[in-house]
């Protein structure tokens, strides 16, 4: 079973190699998520649906952990995202993720950042993207 720190490190590793299908396996089936852009999500099925939006909506997505602090089951990560929407419009933002890791899986996740830098992503019509 991975430690809290290993889970968080793997979270960023899988994001940065674009392996979203493996990334989603880091989460507990009963995951509760308060995502700054997507809002309140519950359950792995909902998260898998959201991942399809990430795959379509970003042509580039790099999320570098600048600091990862761990206390037992809780971890906080300071990060820097350099991304681009489906048409290549750049996105640059820093923020924080909060993780609770239970039995080697992420059982709670929330993140905190400015939403304005993500407008090139959120203003897209994902349904019209091939």
């Amino acid at each position: 079973m991975m430690s809290t720190k290993e889970v968080v490190e793997t979270y960023f590793y899988l994001v940065n190699i674009g392996n979203w299908d493996k990334w989603v396996t880091l989460f507990n089936d009963d995951i509760v998520m308060d995502e700054q852009l997507a809002g309140h999500l519950e359950g792995i099925g909902t998260l898998k649906g959201a991942v399809e939006g990430l795959k379509k909506g970003y042509s580039k997505f790099i999320n570098r952990p600048l600091e990862v602090l761990v206390e037992g089951e809780k971890a906080m990560a300071l990060w820097h995202i350099e991304a681009a929407n489906a048409k290549g419009v750049p996105i640059d933002a820093k923020g924080v993720n909060y993780f609770i890791v239970t039995n080697g899986k992420i059982s709670y996740f929330s993140n905190f950042h400015d939403t304005v830098p993500f407008k090139p992503f959120t203003d897209q019509n994902l349904a019209s993207i091939e």
Partner: protein, 122 residues
């Protein structure tokens, strides 16, 4: 004070309105990046308090979660404030702290700027 006590005091002094004690938590050469501005040095940090007090006469910031490792800490916090026009403002966000010799040496704050759109410009 240890790192946890310093961060807890950061929020306690805001919520008791003891801004001089709050400013005393920072190193003379501290840097504070609050997304809108970067304040360098204790005098600039003290000045930022005047801006907050004028724009948001009612201002509370509650500590919700805290993780500390060595000299660094990240706090999840929730601002509950009222603008000069009596418009309520709520914003959940995060603060990152670096502590050096018992003082806050660096701090960065992460909130959604959309929550602060209604704050009157000074």
């Amino acid at each position: 004070m240890n790192v946890k006590e310093i961060v807890e005091a950061y929020f306690a002094f805001i919520n008791s309105g003891e801004w001089d004690k709050w400013a005393g938590l920072f190193d003379n050469d501290a840097v504070v990046d609050d997304m809108a501005n970067i304040s360098k040095g204790k005098d600039a940090i003290k000045k930022s308090v005047d801006t907050i007090q004028q724009a948001l006469p009612e201002f509370k910031n509650y500590l919700r979660e805290l993780v500390v490792e060595e000299n660094k800490a990240i706090a999840i916090c929730e601002i509950k404030a009222t603008t000069r026009n009596n418009t309520p403002l709520v914003s959940k966000g995060a603060n990152y702290y670096e502590i050096k010799n018992g003082k806050i040496n660096y701090m960065a704050s992460f909130h959604d700027s959309a929550h602060f759109k209604l704050v009157p410009r000074l």
